[in-house]
């Protein structure tokens, strides 16, 4: 028993408890992670910078000769005209005004047309000075930035054919690169901003919120509601909202309240979580445990449906446990704060399952030993079997019900739960939908410095520890779990239906800047096995205690952006001698990447063009990153709000559309 307890430590202390990893491998993994982090952030920025610089050289090389040529052409044009006029006057024997006028006006009209063509088609800026050029290095750099941020002022644009071709390819490569970089920066900024906000600005209220949370063991639902009512609004505004909403429309009880920070993910969680559970259980059951454990694994399927009906019982359990294991519990609860109710549900499931199970099984101590002995090989084996499972189910997309790995399992399910099969027929590719959920969880843990494989470990740990906890005194709890069975499967079913409707993959909605960032935000920054965790909205887990779920309020982000625009407006008004409205307009047009180009820096004050180009580039790069950050911070809550409105209006089916509204 004690041995098992040692193994069921909270997740972040598990490294020593996984000796099969090896210290060397762990070190390699750790350094790999660090390297990946450096690569993803620093190198990406460096890459973008060097891409811009390279583009600057390239465009300067391509466009500058043409520009000088156009300037020379204009001069020649004028000299020619002068010469013509001179000849006209000189040749004429009698200088008659009307004839002369007619001739010269024809020449002048021609001249005007040529100048206009030079401006329009050749991009002549009206300056004849050969020493000045638009395509200086700074100008070309600015141009490259303008292209890859898709602002596109158009004050300078390529005029040669090669310049155009180069621009096309430069944009094709550069725009995604820039998006990735910006989303990365926005991610980092969002994390740090959130950190700042919750650590520094709201230190007091978070602190007071946290202490009782730790003392009270697990019952988040009660806790969430209570704090929602009692705590100051900024810190728990969201949780209140969430709990209310989930209480309203999901019927899962308030324990869903904190589940995910992102509603989409939450629906995913509700839906896919079920399927994922199945798989996890399945692997475990077929992975290496004996019959008893399979029972345990299969039982929760049944129990889960009525878990939420028995809040009271759960509470008693948890309180009980909380008293007994409060010191360990505290640590674990910190971890759990960041984790989702999925896991909570796991735990409950396991509570229930092991509880009923144990009543006809051997004494817990013996079982503990056996479990522990099977543990370490079983990790690997369950993973391997899952691998096989995936490999099998992915290419052919066999319907789930046919997947043999669930043979024994499904025979168990069938009496108690029809849903897996109902789901299986319609949702025929579990692998396609489920992994993002899992991997996002994987990844979430991973960010806390654990290895990617530890998800199962974790579940198992909770399993073990919980079964351990309950195993000792399971007689205290009568098996109540039959009363709500009729109600819950329906919900489960609905959950799955909803999950089915979710897109099989995230989408990019437009080639434009902002909406994309949400989806591809994570892609570059993680190692190979996190790559498809684009669903993951779990960017906040920063260190151990940081409240990742809690968003920064919308008004703060809006305020930030507006003040950034206004501050930029003031600065540009000072630098460029524009009026305040003009510079605010300029900032807005720039940051939204519309980029009309009617106001462009470094046009009015020619002397300091390089300087103001530098200012403008910095301003817009940082500003776009800031916008990305605030989209990052705001979107979840905003989507939640919009969804709420849509739901209340009864246009639920438009949820997905509505929430993309403000992304």
């Amino acid at each position: 028993m004690s041995g098992r307890r040692a193994q069921s430590l909270p997740a972040h202390m598990v490294e020593p408890a996984k000796p099969e990893r090896g210290r060397c491998v762990a070190a390699i993994c750790f350094s790999w992670k660090i390297i990946t982090c450096i690569v993803s952030h620093v190198l990406l920025v460096l890459l973008v910078v060097s891409y811009c610089v390279g583009g600057a050289y390239l465009f300067q090389h391509l466009e500058r000769p043409h520009e000088l040529e156009v300037k020379r052409d204009i001069q020649n044009l004028r000299f020619n005209l002068t010469e013509n006029i001179w000849l006209l006057s000189d040749d004429a024997l009698v200088l008659r005004e009307s004839d002369w006028m007619a001739n010269v006006s024809k020449h002048l009209a021609n001249f005007e047309k040529q100048i206009l063509t030079a401006i329009k088609a050749d991009g002549w800026d009206g300056d004849e000075d050969l020493r000045k050029s638009q395509w200086t290095f700074a100008g070309s750099l600015f141009y490259s930035i303008i292209v890859i941020t898709t602002i596109g002022y158009g004050h300078i644009s390529p005029r040669t054919d090669w310049g155009k071709v180069t621009t096309i390819f430069y944009a094709i490569v550069g725009i995604p690169l820039m998006l990735i970089c910006l989303s990365n920066i926005g991610d980092v900024m969002a994390t740090s901003f959130r950190f700042l906000y919750w650590r520094i600005c709201c230190y007091v209220c978070t602190r007071t919120a946290k202490r009782p949370r730790n003392a009270r063991s697990r019952q988040r639902s009660v806790r969430g509601q209570r704090y929602a009512r009692s705590q100051p609004p900024p810190s728990f505004r969201r949780s209140m909202k969430m709990t209310q909403r989930s209480g309203n429309d999901s019927g899962f009880g308030p324990s869903m309240g904190h589940a995910h920070s992102d509603p989409e993910l939450r629906t995913m969680g509700r839906g896919v979580g079920g399927g994922y559970d199945d798989r996890e259980f399945g692997h475990r059951s077929s992975g290496g445990r004996n019959r008893r454990q399979q029972q345990i694994a299969a039982q929760p399927r049944q129990q889960r449906h009525n878990i939420y009906g028995d809040e009271y019982e759960m509470q008693t359990q948890t309180l009980n446990r909380g008293n007994r294991y409060s010191s360990r519990q505290r640590q674990r609860d910190r971890m759990r704060d960041r984790h989702t109710v999925e896991r909570e549900r796991y735990r409950h499931d396991f509570d229930a399952g092991s509880m009923e199970d144990f009543s006809d099984l051997q004494p817990p101590a013996k079982r503990a030993a056996s479990v522990r002995s099977v543990r370490s090989p079983q990790h690997q084996e369950s993973k391997a079997s899952r691998e096989l499972h995936r490999l099998h189910s992915a290419p052919g997309r066999v319907a789930r019900s046919q997947v043999p790995s669930s043979e024994r399992r499904s025979s168990r399910w069938q009496p108690c739960d029809v849903n897996p099969h109902a789901m299986a027929t319609t949702w025929s590719s579990p692998d396609y939908d489920a992994p993002p959920q899992g991997s996002s969880r994987d990844h979430r843990r991973d960010r806390r410095g654990r290895s990617p494989r530890s998800y199962e470990d974790y579940v198992e740990e909770s399993f073990d520890e919980v079964s351990l906890c309950d195993g000792g005194h399971y007689e205290d709890y009568p098996p109540v779990h039959s009363k709500s069975r009729s109600r819950e499967p329906r919900r489960n079913h609905r959950r799955r239906e909803r999950a089915e409707r979710l897109p099989p993959s995230p989408r990019i909605m437009s080639p434009m800047g902002f909406p994309v960032q949400r989806q591809i935000r994570r892609r570059p920054s993680y190692e190979y096995d996190e790559d498809d965790s684009m669903y993951g909205e779990d960017y906040g887990d920063y260190g151990d205690l940081l409240p990742k779920d809690r968003p920064v309020p919308i008004w703060l982000c809006v305020f930030l952006v507006v003040s950034y625009i206004l501050g930029g407006a003031a600065l540009f008004a000072y630098w460029e001698n524009w009026s305040f409205l003009d510079s605010a307009y300029f900032c807005f047009i720039t940051l939204t990447t519309i980029g009309f180009g009617d106001f462009v820096p470094a046009k009015g004050v020619k002397d300091e063009s390089e300087q103001s180009i530098a200012y403008c580039s910095l301003y817009l790069l940082f500003g776009i990153a800031l916008l990305a950050m605030s989209f990052n911070l705001v979107q979840e809550e905003f989507i939640a709000n919009v969804k709420e409105v849509a739901r209340r209006l009864g246009i639920l089916k438009d949820d997905d559309e509505d929430d993309r509204d403000e992304e």
């Binding site: 204009i74 004028r78 000299f79 010469e83 001179w86 006057s89 200088l95 006028m101 006006s105 002048l108 001249f111 100048i115 206009l116 401006i119 329009k120 602002i151 002022y153 158009g154 005029r159 054919d161 944009a171 077929s286 004996n290 522990r372 099977v374 079983q378 084996e381 391997a384 079997s385 691998e387 096989l388 499972h389 995936r390 490999l391 992915a394 052919g396 046919q402 997947v403 043999p404 027929t425 099989p504 995230p506 989408r507 909605m509 437009s510 434009m512 190979y528 498809d532 807005f588 939204t592 519309i594 009309f596 409105v645 209006l649 246009i651 559309e657 509505d658 993309r660 509204d661 992304e663």
Partner: protein
């Protein structure tokens, strides 16, 4: 947006139940696939009217307040008379150099006047309805050609507000239409390219895939036999007790599992295949090449179209299309440029043509990104799986 708000307000009065329902339906319709097109179109048209009105009104107001600014100087006439004066002055002593220098100065001044007038921006005449329509479209798509820009302060403010509301709306349009297009494209792709219309071909294809998969599964099974043994020995060294039983269970489970998978792979029955053939098209991923081909095709088609319409060459046309569809929008090439195409009707038509091309093209691009991302995610997942497997066998 406004309709939603209004229905929201009405919801507070339970007496208007039916009216509320109507509003709800209307809103739902407006945010559905057809409605969003209408919504965007009407929003753009409304924006066109608003901007046109604002700009023309402000122009008139400014003109009445400060008339001296708007007196059209006859620059060329002035220039002409000055040159004539010079010529008449110098007719007696023909100093070639001095004369030329003076004329050149006059011409330089003239040239600067032209440039200034040109760079000051287009005048109010550009705010025709179609011009304003294109303008509002470029605002909400964040293309921003800048060939027409607001000059009045109210126009700028209105642009900011218009963009704040319009851009999310357009994004909504994009995602919605892109979704619909992606679905239909997938459907078409699955029916035509994967030959799901013809069940025989599809069946054969699936059987072939099954066979491949079976080989894979068998290889994996062999692999797990080895790795299972390896891992169990490893674990026996790490865990102190009961290593024998654990390794044996491990081993058997592994073999059991793999063999069962192979079984199903063998027994891939007809009904199963039928179901897969008739199954939803959601799991089909369209290859990247097809998406890229569609995008390139659309751009080239646009190049052809605009090339014919605007007398651009092919490179210019594709450059314009790419710059527009990537929402960069330099505005160096804009359809209906007044300097090049003087015909007024043609200008109007080309604005509308450009707007339609953009509206459609953005949706197509969104669709392609949609599909491409799906495919990329799918691929990455597969790679990851392979990599993980490799890693595991190495570590174990």
């Amino acid at each position: 947006m406004s309709s939603r708000r209004s229905s929201f307000r009405r919801k507070e009065k339970p007496a208007f139940q039916r009216f509320k329902d109507h509003c709800r339906h209307f809103t739902a319709f407006m945010f559905s696939n057809v409605g969003i097109i209408l919504l965007v179109t009407f929003y753009t048209i409304g924006g066109a009217f608003i901007f046109q009105a604002i700009e023309i009104f402000e122009y008139e107001r400014l003109r009445s307040e400060k008339p001296h600014r708007f007196i059209e100087r006859n620059v060329s006439g002035e220039c002409l008379t000055r040159i004539w004066e010079l010529t008449a002055e110098n007719i007696s002593f023909f100093d070639h150099k001095a004369y030329r220098k003076r004329v050149n100065d006059v011409l330089l001044e003239y040239q600067r006047a032209i440039v200034k007038k040109q760079l000051k921006g287009p005048d109010v005449e550009q705010w025709s309805f179609s011009g304003a329509f294109l303008y509002s479209l470029t605002v909400i798509t964040t293309i921003g050609y800048g060939n027409i820009t607001p000059h009045s302060e109210w126009g700028k403010l209105a642009t900011i507000l218009y963009a704040i509301i319009g851009m999310p709306l357009f994004l909504l349009y994009l995602s919605n239409i892109g979704d619909v297009l992606a679905k239909s494209f997938k459907w078409i792709y699955s029916k035509v390219c994967l030959c799901r219309i013809c069940p025989g071909v599809a069946k054969r294809r699936i059987i072939r895939e099954r066979r491949k998969m079976r080989h894979l599964a068998r290889a994996l099974q062999m692999h797990h036999m080895e790795s299972g043994g390896g891992s169990s020995s490893y674990s026996s060294s790490s865990s102190t007790t009961n290593s024998n039983s654990s390794s044996s269970t491990d081993y058997t489970k592994s073999s059991y599992r793999s063999s069962s998978i192979v079984d199903v792979a063998y027994s891939g029955s007809d009904s199963d295949i039928e179901r897969e053939i008739r199954g939803s098209t959601d799991e089909i991923t369209v290859p990247l090449t097809v998406c890229i081909f569609v995008m390139v095709g659309y751009i080239l088609w646009g190049a052809l179209l605009f090339g014919r319409w605007e007398d651009w060459n092919y490179l210019d046309g594709s450059y314009f299309c790419l710059i527009s569809l990537s929402s960069i929008g330099f505005g160096d090439l804009v359809p209906g440029d007044r300097v090049i195409t003087a015909d007024r009707d043609k200008v109007e038509v080309s604005f509308i043509l450009c707007a339609v091309y953009l509206l459609l093209g953005m949706a197509v691009i969104a669709m392609c990104f949609n599909l491409m991302q799906e495919e990329v995610v799918h691929n990455i997942r597969a790679i990851k799986r392979g990599f993980k497997a490799c890693f595991r066998c190495r570590s174990s």
